[in-house]
């Protein structure tokens, strides 16, 4: 299986500020009534973007050019709550190829990087500055660089962070775990034999 090496994500960014944005908000449970991930992009942040009657609210993701953005910027503990992979799937299908936040909930982080969507963190000062810059310059270019581990925007280069295991998997084009796991098949069988409840 050959995957793209994900080293640098340039593009427009869009800020959805706030802390503790949970996966129920990113993709409400009613959209989990499905057997494929197709079409989830339409429903990302659905209830933040539309009233129950379907009227569009004021929301950055409702701007006419929102789907041209490839980087999402948010706050602390992004993606907390439910383990639904539907959340990163919906963001990716909406158009986001990278996410910048103050911190990420663990399951969301693994679900995102596992489908090739890097999640990098910035310190509080840089995150606030980036959020303000993105809001003021919606068409401006932002870049997430996974080799230099930086986020750049408006001529400013900020130090970003991401656990090295996920970072190196993305830059090496090995972010989908299945190939590595299959390769350990024989050793897996040996471990299974040592576990009485499995054998």
């Amino acid at each position: 299986m050959s995957l793209a090496k994900i080293t640098r994500i340039p593009g427009r960014a869009l800020a959805v500020p706030g802390d503790d944005i949970d996966t129920d908000r990113i993709i409400p449970a009613r959209f989990l009534r499905c057997v494929t991930f197709d079409g989830l992009g339409e429903h990302a942040f659905r209830d933040e973007r539309f009233t129950p009657e379907g009227v569009a609210r004021e929301h950055p993701m409702n701007r006419p050019d929102a789907r041209e953005a490839s980087i999402l910027v948010s706050g602390q503990n992004f993606g907390c709550g439910s383990s639904r992979e539907h959340a990163p799937q919906s963001l990716w299908r909406f158009g986001f190829k990278a996410i910048i936040a103050g911190s990420f909930a663990e399951i969301f982080f693994g679900n995102s990087t596992g489908i090739g969507v890097p999640c990098v963190t910035l310190g509080p000062g840089d995150l606030a500055a980036l959020t303000a810059w993105v809001q003021a310059n919606p068409a401006g270019e932002v870049a997430v660089d996974l080799e230099a581990m930086t986020v750049s925007a408006g001529g400013k280069v900020m130090r970003a962070a991401m656990p090295d295991s996920a970072r190196s998997s993305l830059t090496a084009g090995k972010w989908d775990s299945i190939a590595d796991l299959l390769e350990g098949g024989a050793e897996t069988g040996r471990v299974a034999k040592t576990l009485p409840y499995v054998a």
Binding site: D24, T36, D47, N77, E106, G185
Partner: protein, 469 residues
């Protein structure tokens, strides 16, 4: 060297180090349900892979099942499609499915323990964030996404990084009317909704020693609400007694060896922890949430916090919470009008929860105009409650007695809040929109507090309502 249970289980299941520095970890038990598995089966089909250890995956259906409609096809065609996809996938791959006609269907985190599938010293994974529930048995249990469900189906392993271990020690006796639910809400309030990031929580101390397995499950269940992917309690005699005789527990000839092995996984005295937190059980009072995260919680007799007095990072979320909840800072939450009472979920839908509530509810009535539903977490629990006459107590009081499932915890089935109804709920999440209405409001609390709310029609102190001293 002295080790924690987490370290011992990890070491026993480590297959190899992966090129990116993560560990390939063997997953002994895989639990699946209808919401997060169909795409994973699709992926293994597309890749031409098979299920590697079909006898180590167990399935049930819980999220989408209606609780007041037994006959199929269900009125929701998508729910029907999802249950049928799971039937086909489990049949095609030879996976045991606790379907609705088995008498053993229920919320996946109740089925594992009831069947004796959940065992100490094992690794468990499930495409559901409340998988830490199984940690109550001294298992290391991970909530995972769908791509990882694929990984477990195809390889019985996951690529994971080890976690740090924080011991949360609660000592002493809980005051009457204070329950395991109050303990975990209090822990999350103290440590924050992201305080557990990067940690497994080891719950310990005399309070946990005295807890039943069901109470331990309530606490472990909500670990993820505190940011911790795993939570566990060291296995002890109570654990073994709970498992003995269950369908998937080791049989007579293997029992003693299994118990000895299980016991050996408990954290060693003197092992090192990355962090230790100590809480005095006597300091905990009945706890309720007032906001839109499980950490936004107060004791029932406290006033809701004024945002200006909160830490910088908490202020904006608090203001957003007040707007959504239509509540006012500085006021008591007690006395807030309640529209719906929901008793159930993988946090508090067990037989001991139903027994405790029924014991106090007998002879009382749900407030006129209030919708109150009881959703036993599993068919086995429902049948037991019927047998003990608990169901009748609930019906007599004016509760709707429903079939087993996740129901209004996340409202993927027809059980939903309407408009800005406020729900007194024994579930685990008070996120905006969580219970099926965008403007719906959730106040999390213990099962007995839900009953107190149902009777009085407002957020109430169960100790006062039921005369508990």
């Amino acid at each position: 060297m002295a080790k924690t249970l987490f370290q011992k289980v990890w070491d026993a299941h480590a297959v190899r180090l992966l090129p990116n520095g993560q560990t390939q970890l063997f997953i002994g038990t895989h639990l699946i349900h209808e919401v997060t598995s169909p795409q994973a089966f699709g992926m293994i089909r597309d890749l031409g892979l098979k299920v590697r250890y079909p006898h180590r995956t167990f399935a049930t259906v819980d999220h989408i099942v209606p609780t007041n409609e037994l006959r199929e096809p269900y009125s929701d065609p998508i729910a029907q499609e999802m249950i049928e996809a799971l039937r086909k996938n489990t049949r095609d791959h030879g996976i045991r499915f606790f379907d609705t006609n088995t008498g053993a269907q229920g919320i996946v985190h109740m089925v594992g323990p009831e069947q004796g599938i959940t065992q100490p010293g094992t690794t468990i994974a499930c495409g559901d964030s409340h998988t830490a529930t199984h940690g109550a048995f001294g298992a290391i249990a991970f909530g995972i996404g769908t791509t990882q469900v694929r990984d477990v189906l195809a390889t019985q392993t996951l690529a994971l990084s080890p976690l740090k271990v924080r011991r949360i020690e609660v000592n002493g006796a809980l005051a009457p009317g204070v329950y395991a639910k109050d303990v975990i809400l209090h822990i999350i309030r103290l440590l924050g909704v992201n305080g557990g990031l990067g940690y497994a929580y080891e719950y310990a101390g005399s309070t946990f020693d005295n807890f039943s397995l069901e109470e331990r499950m309530t606490v472990c269940n909500m670990s993820i609400e505190g940011g911790a992917r795993c939570g566990y309690v060291n296995p002890d005699q109570k654990t073994f007694d709970y498992l003995k005789g269950r369908p998937h527990a080791p049989k007579a000839a293997e029992w003693d060896a299994a118990v000895a092995r299980w016991r050996s996984f408990a954290s060693d005295p003197g092992c090192a922890y990355d962090d230790i937190v100590r809480i005095d059980a006597a300091s905990i009072r009945p706890t309720v949430t007032w906001g839109i995260t499980p950490g936004q919680a107060i004791f029932i007799d406290e006033a809701m916090p004024v945002p200006a007095t909160l830490k910088d990072g908490d202020r904006a979320t608090a203001e957003e919470a007040y707007r959504h909840m239509k509540l006012a800072p500085g006021l008591p939450i007690k006395g807030t009008k309640v529209d719906v009472a929901f008793l159930g979920s993988c946090t508090n839908g067990r037989i001991s929860d139903l027994r405790e509530v029924a014991r106090h509810l007998k002879g009382r009535k749900v407030k006129a105009g209030l919708k109150a539903i009881v959703v036993p977490g599993s068919q086995i629990t429902a049948a037991q409650a019927e047998k003990e006459g608990l169901a009748e107590v609930f019906r007599d009081a004016g509760f709707e007695w429903r079939g087993a499932g996740c129901s209004m915890c996340l409202a993927m089935n027809p059980d939903k809040l309407v408009g800005d109804q406020l729900c007194a709920s024994s579930s685990n999440r008070n996120f905006k929109g969580r219970q099926g209405s965008i403007t719906g409001r959730t106040v999390l609390m213990s099962p007995l507090m839900v009953a107190a709310a149902a009777i009085t029609g407002e957020v109430a102190d169960a100790r006062e309502v039921f005369g508990i001293r």
